[in-house]
């Protein structure tokens, strides 16, 4: 998939930049990167923009990543957008919760660009 628009959701601006760099290092063709500091901001971004991929943290103020994925799944215009969680919450239980809520992939922090590629590419390739 070429020239994608990626939305990166994390309350840390440093982490948003690292995720963006990792996406580019992974060789993905990124046309635009949008950012949000929490789930509520991310919902507003998704309502106003055509997004191809979302990378989302779990622990965030205002609205956490799991609630964001649940609400996104109920949005007719955005429920097909694949979400990959990128989080320090790496337990089996959190993975199950995220996938049940609608996430398509899960990356544990700390991570390498190779891990980002390994988890994001299959999700983009599977996108209808």
């Amino acid at each position: 998939m070429d020239n994608i628009c990626a939305l990166i959701v994390d309350d840390s601006s440093v982490m948003r930049k690292i995720v963006e760099r990792s996406l580019r290092q992974a060789g993905l063709s990124i046309a635009q990167v949008l950012e949000a500091g929490n789930g509520a901001e991310a919902l507003a971004v998704v309502q106003k923009n055509k997004v191809d991929l979302i990378l989302c943290d779990i622990n965030m103020p205002v609205m956490d990543g799991l609630e964001f994925v649940k609400q996104l799944s109920s949005m007719e215009t955005a429920k097909a957008v694949p979400v990959v969680m990128i989080t320090t919450e790496g337990s089996e239980g959190h993975v199950v919760q995220a996938l049940s809520a609608g996430a398509r992939g899960y990356i544990r922090k700390p991570f390498t660009p190779e891990q980002v590629k390994e988890h994001v590419l299959p999700v983009l390739e599977a996108k209808p």
């Binding site: 601006s13 089996e92 239980g93």
Partner: protein, 161 residues
Amino acid sequence: MNPSNSALGSALGRECWLPTLQLAMQEVFELMLACPLEVPAEPPPEDGLDITAMVGLAGQLCGILTVRCSSKSAGRMASRMLGIDAEKAGPEMWDAVGEICNMVAGNFKNKIAGLGDGCMLSVPTVITGSEYNLHSMVNDEMHTVLLFEGEPVVLSLEVHN
């Protein structure tokens, strides 16, 4: 202590927690900053560590994990994470150290069986300055110092039983 905490305290062996903490921090620096940490031959002086990042833990393990370093080290961490000039790092350095603390806490709890699902993390808080006292009513404290580019980074886990 409830049964879950008892299991954590005995079966997992807290004597393993300090090396696990060290490993958790070393992995974060290697993967996210491309910089291995060194174990000092002798404990280095801890003066001038004016940045403290804290992440709270709640659930089966209650306590607080802190990472302390100098502003100079924090600027270098932000530089390595963002590719910016270390001398010009402003608020990014606080965000960088807070996120490092968050990743160390998450990486640590994911290495201890039973803690991954049973312990929640707070979002990080960062304090600047060194003239403060922290009163967290702890029952147990673990403390280790590693060297980042030759400068000390202090990692502490204070645990409420």
